[in-house]
């Protein structure tokens, strides 16, 4: 168990990379920086592979590696410790693996940027925090990573901070995450207060003995879910994710694919016992998930910014994952996390490649016909699109259908909406593909002149990811196709708790399963074909910004006005409240009162000094009044 005990190396490498790149950002040449940045992740990846193999070979499936006492008071003890089990080891692989590819890709993509060193240091830091999130053996360490990735997303989204709207997007991402984080934090408190520990092992062991539907568990899971909503961009906290496109494209890939947004899913899978024991929360998770999925998909169909489309697709796919969680298909959800990591990273990097070629143009209306100029990008992107659309045998198909199958068992309605979402997904993805790569070029002469395929540092990751996107589904081939779902088997230990083993619903009839698959695949293909007829055959190009639309497409185009509504019901009232508090209450009422006391004294002084009239007669008169008063008092008190 050599490597498992050395698991701290995994986050250490990125941390070291961060420090070297961060401190040497102005000194080191770009080549060195890129090398160090990528190498650090590669090393982590290698160690992760080692850990994975070791774990696979081992009989014990859970390892606890304490590092040091972090917070230790009379009443609270939070060790800084790591936990290795199938879930974390597989997440390690994904994060470091895809992270590495994105690093490599970035070398090419960011070559010309001034903040190259800064960029790589942030990237390394990002991976570092993500690794903490995954490795933490308790909720608090998880929370470090949880907030850490939020910070890094802030830094990276706001990487080009001179653009005010980018900076605002960064802030939005952070703040929205923080809303969720508060929920998470309170959940941690409740966990601590209930179980006396935040260690996963302790908590789950005790939780397994609790009754299903326990109120405390309901509280805990609800609040954890709030955290997950924020991190994984579910309704109502999803609006930061599309805005997060402001960062460099590889960052989007990192955030959307491998890291950060999957944190919420990871956390719920990690806490599966708690969630399983509070069915109410699970229902809510499913409902939120499916609504997010369809809403985001509906928005994506009318977006024109290539990255925005992908962003909403991420939100939508995350909705799927939550649907999966909500219906108890934890394995399915993780499966989708994995496949999504492959194809979404791929798609983003492809989009990055396109944007790179287009000299930072992101509007699909100005693209088109890039198939010839960017062949590798096209092919890989096609693979990604097929995967996300759920076309068999690409990876997305398996994971998505596993979730849908479980959803069907829970409620056919969920399944129906899921399938509709799948249709929409297929439609907008192919729409994007067609608009970008087919027909003639719609951009400027200059852009056309510069069109070129990306350098090898960018295309090689694309190819690798494409292969993963195509074949990634193989790790979870369902029984209906004769597979034995390796992933499910591998993950099984994390669902085994003393006295309670969580299993997904009883496997359904194989024929039903096949019919369901057929319906969703058929729908996806039809949608793809419709997109083909509309955008390739029909040469339809999305209307310019100002043009009039019918209600539905207007809603979609304007993202259902969610941002505006938030601004209206939260942003502006808060600002108004702030002014009100400041001007009326603080300055007016409270300070007014305090100053009023002073003023009253001063005015009182003005009045009282008139007593001192300067007239002796008056003085003596007052004295006599005083004497009389005293005498009268004395008269009554003798």
């Amino acid at each position: 168990m050599l490597l498992i005990n050395l698991v701290w190396l995994v986050p250490l490498f990125p941390l070291v990379g961060f420090l070297i790149n961060g401190l040497g950002r102005n000194v080191l040449p770009k080549g060195v920086i890129g090398f160090i940045g990528s190498l650090s992740i590669l090393l982590s990846f290698i160690v992760s592979i080692g850990i994975f193999t070791e774990l696979n070979a081992s009989d014990i499936k859970s390892f606890y590696i304490p590092l040091f006492d972090w917070i230790h008071t009379a009443a609270v003890k939070v060790p800084f410790a790591f936990q290795i089990d199938p879930l974390s080891s597989i997440m390690l692989l994904i994060v470091t693996g895809i992270g590495f590819l994105i690093h490599v890709y970035s070398i090419g993509y960011m070559k010309l940027d001034n903040g190259f060193g800064k960029y790589f240091s942030y990237l390394n830091l990002f991976i570092f925090f993500m690794l903490l999130l995954i490795l933490g053996s308790n909720y608090v360490v998880m929370f470090i990573g949880w907030e850490g990735v939020g910070l890094c997303s802030y830094l990276l989204i706001g990487f080009w901070f001179t653009n005010p709207s980018f900076a605002t997007a960064a802030k939005k991402a952070f703040v929205m995450n923080r809303i969720g984080d508060l929920g998470f934090l309170i959940a941690i408190f409740i966990i601590f207060a209930t179980f006396g520990s935040v260690e996963f092992g302790d908590v789950f062991m005790q939780a397994a003995k609790m009754e299903s539907g326990n109120t405390t568990l309901l509280w805990i899971t609800m609040l954890l879910f709030v955290g997950a909503i924020g991190k994984s961009a579910q309704i109502p906290l999803f609006t930061w994710l599309p805005d997060a496109m402001a960062g460099p494209t590889p960052v989007s890939a990192l955030i959307h694919a491998a890291t950060m947004v999957t944190g919420g899913v990871y956390m719920i899978i990690r806490s599966n016992i708690l969630f399983t024991l509070s069915p109410v929360t699970l229902h809510l998770v499913a409902v939120i998930g499916i609504i997010t999925a369809i809403l985001a998909a509906a928005i994506a169909v009318s977006q024109t910014d290539i990255k925005k489309v992908l962003a909403y697709s991420t939100v939508s796919q995350l909705g799927y994952m939550f649907l999966g969680l909500g219906v108890g298909a934890y394995t399915g959800a993780l499966f989708h996390v994995i496949t999504h990591a492959f194809f979404k990273a791929l798609l983003f990097l492809c989009a990055g490649s396109v944007i790179h070629a287009m000299s930072n143009e992101q509007d699909m209306r100005k693209m088109g016909g890039l198939k010839k100029k960017l062949p590798i990008t096209f092919v890989t992107m096609m693979a990604g699109t097929l995967a996300i659309s759920g076309i068999p045998p690409f990876s997305g198909f398996f994971s998505k259908d596993e979730i849908l199958a479980h959803a069907y068992e829970q409620s056919p309605l969920l399944w129906v909406i899921g399938v509709i979402t799948a249709l929409l997904t297929s439609f907008y993805m192919f729409r994007m593909l067609y608009l970008t790569f087919y027909k003639g070029f719609r951009g400027t002469q200059e852009q056309e002149h510069h069109l070129h395929e990306s350098p090898a540092t960018m295309t090689i990751p694309l190819v690798i990811l494409a292969i993963l996107a195509v074949f990634g589904g193989l790790i979870g081939i369902p029984e209906v196709f004769g597979g034995h779902h390796w992933l499910a088997g591998f993950l099984a230990p994390i669902f085994e708790h003393p006295g309670l083993v969580i299993v997904a619903e009883t496997p359904m009839n194989h024929s039903t399963e096949l019919i369901l698959m057929a319906v969703s695949v058929g729908g996806a293909i039809i949608a793809a074909l419709y997109a083909y007829s509309r955008y390739v055959k029909g040469s339809h190009i999305p209307a310019v910004d100002g043009s009039s639309r019918d209600l539905l497409s207007k809603l979609s185009y304007n993202k259902f006005y969610v941002d505006e509504v938030y601004e209206f019901i939260i942003g502006r009232p808060l600002n108004a409240l702030s002014s009100f508090f400041y001007k009326i209450i603080d300055k007016g009422a409270i300070d007014g009162f305090v100053n009023g006391l002073g003023k009253a004294t001063s005015e009182g002084s003005k009045v009282l000094r008139l007593l001192q009239s300067g007239n002796v007669g008056f003085y003596i008169f007052m004295m006599i009044t005083g004497i009389v008063a005293l005498l009268v008092y004395g008269f009554y008190n003798i």
């Binding site: 706001g158 952070f174 923080r178």
Partner: protein, 492 residues
């Protein structure tokens, strides 16, 4: 004996500094002198036994014998924390003022050192009268610092500040005298106060008498209106002293003199105080949203942060208190760093209006990084110092009441909003005519900010040594009060 040295060393420094008059070399002297204090503190820390909850290094001399007043001082875990904060921060504060050429530097630095003496007196006093003396004595130097070297509106603002805080402490004095009169052997000893068993009604009054003083000092809503103005008008050094150290007097007082002395009063009114503190958190945070003036914004943020600490104290459990202890240090460091960054900016731009700034990160990346780290510390990002404190505090509050924790926890969100807003306005965006020539930090600025950032991260990553200092004391204090409240007499 060490305590006497600790208290009077800065005083001697003050006397020497005051002889310097107009010569700027006094800076170096004051800095070195404050390092001496720091060294002494380090020594005390090394011989300090954190396992014991009793005061250590106690000195006890007769002082005003007729009234049973003694010069009694000592350091226990709680004191140690604040002493550490005071003596650690003062050198930084002095160092941070190196770029300023204040007129009459001799008096300026003398006042700072004088203030240090008074603060140490407050933090080590074990005699109520002595405590009060230090409490008031610390007010005078800061008043002069703020009023002589402050901004345009300084006179009026500082007068309000002075009278406001003085008002609170006078009422406290009455409370102290009252308690003294109730002690069987007519003493001002803290132990004698702890041993009193007054009726609930009496304790209620005592609670208010003390609470007012502490609430004004911290400040807790709605006794805070002196604070933003004062922070804004004061010279940055003064603001640092005020926010970094002085407001801890209120917190410290509440822990040491308020709740243990009037436990039943606390039982009766503590909830009210907690609610006030929590209101303050949200209220000040929301106000901070729309502040243009950077110093004022940070001032309001400080109200919010201190509100959280206060709430943690009034929740009165080990977590809340330990959180308060460490958060005192953290807040000291963070707010100091914050004001120092703002000072650097204001000194270069001659404006406090955040809307006139922008894009500084582009021209001064090092400053931007430091500022970011400080902001992260103050919005309690994990692995920064603020997190440890806020985590424990919120946990403490949670143990008191979940809704209180939820509302107090809003600070996590709201804090992020206004701090990042500030950062965005000041640092991000494009440079304008004013900020384009902004020079990045150098020399002492780098040193100070480096130390601050390092502290923020070190404490965030490995807070245990600091937590450990106060652990035993906090525990025994909580037990004592709980014992009193529940009618079980336990000896301290």
């Amino acid at each position: 004996m060490e305590i006497l040295l600790l208290i009077f060393l800065p005083l001697a420094g003050a006397l020497i500094s005051s002889l310097f008059g107009e010569r700027q070399q006094v800076k170096t002297l004051a800095f070195i002198w404050s390092l001496l204090s720091l060294g002494l503190t380090a020594y005390l820390l090394s011989v300090f036994n954190p396992e014991s909850s009793a005061p250590q290094f106690v000195v006890d001399h007769s002082w005003l014998s007729y009234y049973g007043i003694r010069f009694k001082a000592g350091i226990d875990g709680i004191s140690m924390i604040v002493v550490l904060l005071t003596n650690g921060l003062i050198p930084l504060i002095i160092l941070s003022s190196f770029k300023h050429t204040y007129k009459r530097p001799g008096s300026f630095y003398a006042l700072i050192l004088l203030m240090q003496s008074a603060l140490l007196l407050v933090f080590t006093a074990l005699d109520a009268f002595l405590f009060y003396i230090g409490w008031e004595a610390s007010l005078i130097p800061i008043y002069f610092i703020c009023a002589i070297w402050g901004g345009e509106n300084r006179i009026k603002v500082n007068m309000k500040f002075f009278i406001y805080t003085f008002a609170g402490s006078l009422i406290m004095l009455l409370g102290i005298i009252y308690l003294h009169l109730q002690t069987p052997d007519k003493s001002y000893d803290i132990q004698a106060f702890y041993n009193l068993s007054l009726s609930t009604a009496e304790q209620g009054w005592i609670f208010w008498a003390f609470f007012l003083a502490f609430a004004i000092k911290m400040p807790v809503f709605p006794f805070h209106t002196w604070q933003p103005d004062t922070y804004t008008e004061a010279p940055t050094t003064g603001t640092m002293l005020l926010a970094g150290i002085m407001l801890k007097m209120g917190i410290y007082g509440a822990i040491r003199w308020l709740i243990p002395v009037a436990p039943l009063g606390f039982e009766e009114w503590g909830q009210f105080a907690l609610i006030l503190a929590i209101i303050g958190i949200v209220y000040a945070s929301i106000i901070a949203f729309t502040q243009k003036d950077v110093k004022r914004l940070v001032a309001y943020s400080s109200i919010a942060h201190v509100g959280l600490i206060a709430a943690g104290i009034f929740a009165w459990n080990t977590n809340g208190l330990q959180g308060a202890m460490i958060q005192m240090i953290n807040h000291g460091i963070n707010v100091f760093g914050m004001f120092f960054v703002l000072d650097i900016i204001i000194r270069r731009l001659h404006t406090r209006d955040s809307f006139e700034m922008g894009g500084i990160a582009k021209v001064a990346p090092q400053l931007a990084i430091a500022f970011l780290i400080i902001i992260l510390g103050s919005i309690a990002l994990p692995l920064t110092n603020g997190f440890i404190g806020e985590f424990l505090l919120l946990f403490g509050i949670y143990q008191y009441n979940i809704w209180a924790a939820l509302i107090a926890g809003l600070t996590i969100i709201l804090g992020a909003v206004y701090m990042l807003r500030l950062y965005q306005r000041v640092m991000l965006g494009t440079t304008n005519a004013l900020t384009v020539g902004f020079k990045d930090i150098d020399g002492t600025e780098k040193l100070v900010l480096g130390v601050v950032c390092a502290l923020i991260i070190i404490i965030g990553v490995y807070p245990n040594p600091i937590l450990h200092i106060s652990e035993a004391t906090v525990k025994s204090l909580v037990e004592m009060v709980d014992g009193k409240v529940h009618g079980i007499s336990t000896t301290f």
